[in-house]
């Protein structure tokens, strides 16, 4: 299965994402730069974490308006899977590919720690290798992960099973509404999440709870 990683100035988790996809899929992902207007034929496009464009204006705001994001939107409309992690999630909401917004953490502090996530919907390409309600571990590292959506949007997300990951057992690190850590688009092929599953894929990371996400998305046997 083929993948591509979007590169933007100021991202700093791109190497982690490339390493994870290479290890899990057995082939190096293609890389696309901010000014690229075409993305090769792949099954999965990943937007890594970091601080694109210095988080100027709003997190992900400038990146979301770059030419490469129009190409990502076209691919997403055709059903290609897209995953945005951390800054990648912020970019996806700023680009309008996912609803809602990510605001400053309610503590006003940058949080860098491990949290527990509950699999809120295991019936998607991204989460099919997990069990419903399963609790997994995942690192988080962000300053703006406080997910917000208006009541109507929130009701739709919850009603349609678009909430994929929830911070479990009182580990919500950012004040996110309904403990939301990750959501999927209406069609189910665009996933955004604040935690970093790519940083927990092998024993050397201290665990591999994040691995099943990529195996599910890429259709690779565990």
């Amino acid at each position: 299965m083929k993948s591509a990683v979007v590169l933007l100035p100021g991202l700093n988790r791109d190497r982690d994402m490339i390493a994870a996809l290479t290890k899990i899929s057995g082939r190096a992902p293609a890389t696309v730069w901010q000014t690229d207007t075409e993305i090769p034929d792949v099954d999965l496009i990943a937007i890594p974490g970091g601080f694109s464009f210095g988080d100027y204006l709003r997190c992900g705001a400038i990146a979301a308006r770059m030419p490469v994001m129009r190409a990502v939107a076209e691919k997403a409309a055709k059903g290609v899977m897209v995953i945005g992690v951390c800054n990648g999630f912020q970019i996806l909401v700023e680009a309008g590919l996912l609803p809602g917004a990510l605001m400053r953490n309610s503590s006003l502090k940058f949080v860098c720690r491990q949290v527990k996530l509950e699999i809120a919907n295991a019936n998607t390409m991204f989460t099919r290798r997990y069990k419903p309600g399963q609790i997994i571990r995942s690192p988080v590292a962000h300053h703006d992960g406080n997910y917000f959506a208006d009541a109507e949007t929130l009701a739709r997300l919850e009603g349609e099973g678009q909430v994929m990951f929830r911070y479990a057992e009182g580990t919500n690190p950012n004040g996110s509404i309904n403990d939301i850590a990750g959501i999927v688009s209406e069609k189910g092929n665009v996933l955004g999440l604040m935690p970093h599953p790519e940083n927990l894929i092998e024993a050397a990371h201290g665990g591999s709870d994040g691995r099943a996400l990529f195996e599910g998305a890429l259709g690779i046997a565990a």
């Binding site: 909401v93 609803p99 400053r104 406080n146």
Partner: protein, 79 residues
Amino acid sequence: MKARITVTLKNGVLDPQGKAIEHALSGLGFDGVGQVRQGKVFDIELTATDKAKAEADLKAMCDKLLANTVIENYAVEIA
């Protein structure tokens, strides 16, 4: 032509930064400070001379980039 755009959080959107500022003001001894909401101001110089067109452009700038209309309102003033 000069314009000023003010971007503020919508009612009902929590503003932890505004809250922290509110507490800091109380800490400095300013009594009677109610809710504080933090926003952004953009001063923009335009070469346009047609005020109506400038206003339409500025609103488009807000919708496309300067404000996130999921959580923010904006106001456009032309000097």
